[in-house]
Symmetry: C2
């Protein structure tokens, strides 16, 4: 894990008008940057992700990075050929500036004194990181879910900094149903007295109960009816018949409870508020009101848009609306609505289909932009994580 | 509101094996029972409903009963012709036996000492009520959502007590996704420290915060993406631009918060646990494993099955599965998947389409079963609510 700190002297301005100083981003890189720095791919993570997208940090790790199936040698994002960057978003709780980090003004964790951030702010920080790495133009930006929103913000607002954009299982604007699910998660946190208006950092108990409920709601939206039928059906957990009591009985209940509880060990409740809020604010059509108008500066970018047929959180028609707007500005768009029963989670699970799609798209980018990916052309000085 | 109490001497046995004594049901009736008691229709309510299905209790009421648009003179369930009964379910909190009522053993509210009940138990209580009213056979049983589950339990287990069954926007078994939404609601209640393991009746504060979150989750599932787009879109509430703060900003947030809070004034958190649990246990295919086998005794009943295209909580394919099983046993089934954008709420909103459907189905029942609905044939002694 690397750390990049900026805006020590000149505060970093947010879309709200607030400022932060300094700003820290944690990030990881995989593969080698080539000598003309033309083979860099930025991966953007989803709501609860971190910079740790691939590989293992240590032998004790029971799990690799969150998109390890897609990032590595000969994988969809091939670390033998490309230099992959993933940074934790602004507002997150994995080392980047956010509510759990120390506010220099008070020497206490920010809590709710951290300013509310947007997807645009997250991306503006990533631009600083790319500048810092000396990369003038990314080969592409890719990500699923909230990661896809960042991809679209890159395209619309930093169109000259990337050749291509791969928004996956995402939307150009959070719909009222998506806002509703976010808000229920937030209300579950607010309802927990241990949340204490966000000021729980010095308390022995954190708002874990509320955060767990928020996560359970999330988990439902990540699955499909069909995948729930396959994974759980109406099967009971560790019992043969109904207990007629208020205990965990069905497998699906056990799954939700386990995942809700596990989540509280790795995530911060305030960060959950900040990041869901950023997603809710996301509306690429603003301020003009026209999605096509927002994408006009990005018409020269090559797009690979991917959705999944059973994703009902970010349904395919959201991607189709995006594709129509891209066609309207004459952009070069490949779109695939992948047949999948896995719901929104499909962007983490439909690895084979995505790998062949992504590899051929990358192949085309390499050819059309004459990217030198020969093994004898790594940038010698680049410091990157062992994979 | 009428009250019927039974099982004072002989305890009432539940499907779990537990017993209750006595059992009270509150109920309302509308219209006149005819002299041969052949024009009675039982209406079954959904998760948070009550016996108050139609009309106003007093001039101060700001709202009529929950299905007033469908029950009344010349309405879908025409009180000029039929005798309509609606009773509050066992486990509810509108006067029927449930966790808020007094446990005769302790003279305290039951709380979680109330036994866990099933849809079958609710229906078995309704059978007692119908016996008490001297009705040998209902003309039909009708209901939406959980009301539809009761309708199906009537058909499968009391097939000789009704001529017809109208299950609307429902399912023959709670799916894992439906269980998941129930469980998240329950977890939101459990997570509220004021819940106190269900023992909050003597406390100044009730688990309103948790119950409100449960209701908000429910409300999302009652709407469709399309109806949310129409009702709320991304419109802000009482402001022109984002506030960049953790306050209610979007109209959809305001809707959820308002409805969550309002719900706590009229519903009991423990009742919410009991009734969602009853729904989760509901699986008409058990114990044989075959839905058709369960419906075999009910093959002579006439069915009108209704679903709504945008209902994703009880999607149309659940009704289609039911219709296939009914066809398999040779039952007389009319099925309509009503084109609607209102999601699960459609069963309360698509009044015009439902009225014409229900009226023609009723017309047929009256004709085929030679029901005397002439105005000069009311049962003289019947005590019923003024409508």
């Amino acid at each position: 894990m690397n750390t990049f700190t900026f805006a020590q002297d000149e505060p970093f301005s947010l879309e709200s008008g607030a400022t932060i100083s300094p700003v820290t981003l944690t990030y990881e890189t995989y593969g080698q940057l080539n000598s003309d720095k033309s083979n860099a791919i930025l991966i953007c993570h989803a709501l609860t992700g971190s910079a740790h997208a691939a590989g293992y940090h240590s032998e004790e790790d029971d799990k690799p990075g969150w998109w390890d199936e897609c990032i590595g040698p000969n994988k969809a994002f091939d670390t033998n050929r490309f230099f992959i960057i993933c940074s934790n978003v602004l507002g997150g709780c994995y080392g980047s500036s956010g509510p759990t980090e120390i506010d220099p003004a008070t020497q206490q964790p920010y809590g709710l004194n951290f300013p509310v951030v947007t997807i645009g702010d997250m991306v503006n920080c990533q631009v600083q990181l790319i500048d810092h790495l000396g990369i003038e133009r990314l080969l592409c930006v890719a990500g699923g879910s909230m990661g896809g929103m960042q991809v679209l913000a890159w395209a619309a607002h930093h169109a000259n900094r990337t050749h291509a954009a791969i928004p996956i299982a995402t939307t150009a604007h959070h719909s009222p149903m998506q806002i509703a699910f976010s808000e229920v998660g937030r209300q579950a946190i607010y309802a927990d007295p241990r949340w204490q208006q966000g000021d729980y950092h010095t308390s022995a108990e954190k708002p874990d109960a509320g955060l767990a409920v928020a996560r359970m709601v999330g988990h439902i939206t990540y699955l499909s009816e069909e995948s729930m039928d396959q994974k759980f059906g109406r099967r009971l957990r560790g019992r043969e018949k109904y207990g007629y009591e208020f205990k965990t009985e069905f497998e699906v209940e056990s799954y939700l409870k386990y995942n809700g509880s596990k989540f509280t060990q790795r995530f911060d409740a305030n960060s959950y508020l900040y990041i869901t809020k950023a997603m809710d604010y996301f509306d690429l059509a603003q301020p003009s009101g026209s999605l096509a108008a927002s994408l006009l500066p990005a018409e020269h970018i090559k797009y690979l848009v991917i959705s999944f047929t059973s994703d009902w959180l970010y349904p395919s028609y959201h991607s189709k609306e995006l594709v129509r707007a891209l066609h309207a500005v004459g952009a070069d768009v490949s779109y695939l609505d992948i047949e999948s029963s896995w719901g929104h989670d499909a962007f983490l699970l439909e690895v084979d289909t995505m790998t062949s799609l992504l590899q051929s798209f990358m192949e085309r980018l390499v050819r059309e932009h004459s990217i030198d990916i020969s093994p004898d052309n790594p940038q010698k000085s680049q410091d990157n994580n062992a994979f």
